[in-house]
Symmetry: none
Amino acid sequence: MNKAKETKKRILNAASELFSIKGYDSVTMREIAKKANCSHSTIYLYYQDKNQLLEKLAVPPLLILSKRIDRTINREQLDSLSKLKATARDIVNFSIKNRSLYLMYMTINSEKVDEEYYSLEVNSIRSALFKKLQKIISLHCSYLSEDEILKYGRMIFFQIHGTIMTYINSEEGSSSIRLRIIPILDESLEILLQGIRGKSSY
Amino acid sequence: MNKAKETKKRILNAASELFSIKGYDSVTMREIAKKANCSHSTIYLYYQDKNQLLEKLAVPPLLILSKRIDRTINREQLDSLSKLKATARDIVNFSIKNRSLYLMYMTINSEKVDEEYYSLEVNSIRSALFKKLQKIISLHCSYLSEDEILKYGRMIFFQIHGTIMTYINSEEGSSSIRLRIIPILDESLEILLQGIRGKSSY
Amino acid sequence: MNKAKETKKRILNAASELFSIKGYDSVTMREIAKKANCSHSTIYLYYQDKNQLLEKLAVPPLLILSKRIDRTINREQLDSLSKLKATARDIVNFSIKNRSLYLMYMTINSEKVDEEYYSLEVNSIRSALFKKLQKIISLHCSYLSEDEILKYGRMIFFQIHGTIMTYINSEEGSSSIRLRIIPILDESLEILLQGIRGKSSY
Amino acid sequence: MNKAKETKKRILNAASELFSIKGYDSVTMREIAKKANCSHSTIYLYYQDKNQLLEKLAVPPLLILSKRIDRTINREQLDSLSKLKATARDIVNFSIKNRSLYLMYMTINSEKVDEEYYSLEVNSIRSALFKKLQKIISLHCSYLSEDEILKYGRMIFFQIHGTIMTYINSEEGSSSIRLRIIPILDESLEILLQGIRGKSSY
DNA sequence: TATGAATGAGCATTCATTCAT
DNA sequence: AATGAATGAATGCTCATTCAT
């Protein structure tokens, strides 16, 4: 990797880390520069402005996540509970890898972030996740109505979201968090699916 | 109430409202002053700085929430599921009333908020909520082990937290959000408790 | 005059002086502040931004000049040569009093100055001046065609403009400049009018 | 011409064009480089800094103008009015070709332009032009006193200067401006000379 | 000969905070 | 008890310039 690309990467890493710790608005270009071991003006060499830095940081991982979930859902040999667990794991891995972003997608309301960008991406990711979770549930309980699928899809989303949110700000290392979250989430999903079955079957 | 106290109150109200609408960082002292119908320097007459304003704003509602939950748990005529639902409702009401604060307790790491304050309050609220939820679960299934209570307490907390987080940043009005969240949450809790019973009873 | 108004005035004076010496773009807010003996942020207390500072500086004197010329033209007891000289004197006085502005009207092409404002004011002042000069010429030589009036009006404008431009950047004091310019201009105008008569009469 | 010289020339051309279109301050080194089809750092290979670029750009045309005027004045077959008109035309052509420079010679006080350079060149060009115009006038009316020559020289200079100043910032193309200015100026000069004769002869 | 990488000084502007009244 | 005046530190961003290759 040549020097320019390295610097570019260092900047992106620094920005990612800082955004995740402090939130977009609270991070200054000078801070990012310091962490990336370069001048603040160097950042502008590679990124148009602060906003673009965020954008570049956000979109690719999102696309990867989306594709990965699709692959998971389409794996024929898996039963629906396994698919749900695998999807949850995908989301957890993504959210840990991109702590900052996850936070941002779900909590940001900074007026400073361009409206279009925000609504575009966040809505797309949120609704896409929703749709995918709903699909798994409909696979799991084929007799559910549209409304019930919507409702239970939400529940499962909330469970995943809540679990992640609780751990995401801790100072713990990534793999340690993963090890703690995944079993909890697995069991939560089992319980939820079981509860859903128990509820809807009578 | 004398004039001074009235002004003080007006300031607090203004700050509370603005913080919940726009978030701590995006609110300026001049905005608060305008809404409170006083000069921005008057604020400093009653509050050390912006941070203290937030602190003063945060602690009392938290204490109120805490007491309310205690009362709910101790109401003898309620069964455990009803207690859980009522507690969730308390938390939802609190979080909607103090939108920006809720966010802060659970997600902010802004270095602008004094460290001590942050760790002190957030930890206390979080662990207290945990303890209370665990207590309800132990009432519900008396045969559970310590570990299981911890685990299921977390699940329920995650469900509540996740549900709230998903709606808290929307532009919707408070009562509208309340109406949407509570039934979802009620049913989620039913399902979770049912799932827990189904899981742990065999 | 209270303190606020004094400061406001001081800022305006400083800006005016600096703009005239260095040109709009080359003047920084901090420079203005320094000259006005206040902080740069104080400027923003009284003026929205750098642009507004210029606008506030520019428009009133222009309106005053315009009215003054109208009054001059309408003074019945004056013959046309006297009117022309008096008008030229008005323009000279204005341009000396507002050195910066005069320069700006005629030479600025900074993209940083809001387009609308620029074209609006400059065009209005320029074309108004033109019209007024033409009117005097038409009073002077009633037999001239439209085209000739236009042409000679331009000539006279150029003479005035050129004379001013040559002196306006010198370090000389205002009254000293005035004393030097006015006799030159008076004589120039006499010669031009005489030349015009000589030319058009045969 | 070897490669280095070619590059050097390309840079100068680019700078010249951009300076005249946008003005010295508004042009960036990167812009110049882009137009010159080289890297911005290459510019520093050949020119000390932005200022020197301007200097190198300014002096030669000035010298050329000066020589051309001398030649015009010394052409024996021309009468004095023709000499004056031709000189004016030289100045007009120069000022249009070097729009931004003309502006600079006559109006800039930007401290960004080195003091010495400024006073040195501008004064020399201004006083030289003056002298030359005076010489023509003295040829035209041999009976004039020193003072009168000075005075009328100034007038003619003002007329030329004013005419140019009025058009120089327009967006019009060069040749179009030339076509508009020259007839106006020719006639102005006729009138002025006629006026001078009329005035001084009685 | 030429360049891409990197930088620091500087800019307009914002905002929490202090001070004199 | 209250305020308007004033400020300095900070922010995102630009640009002439330098440096290593």
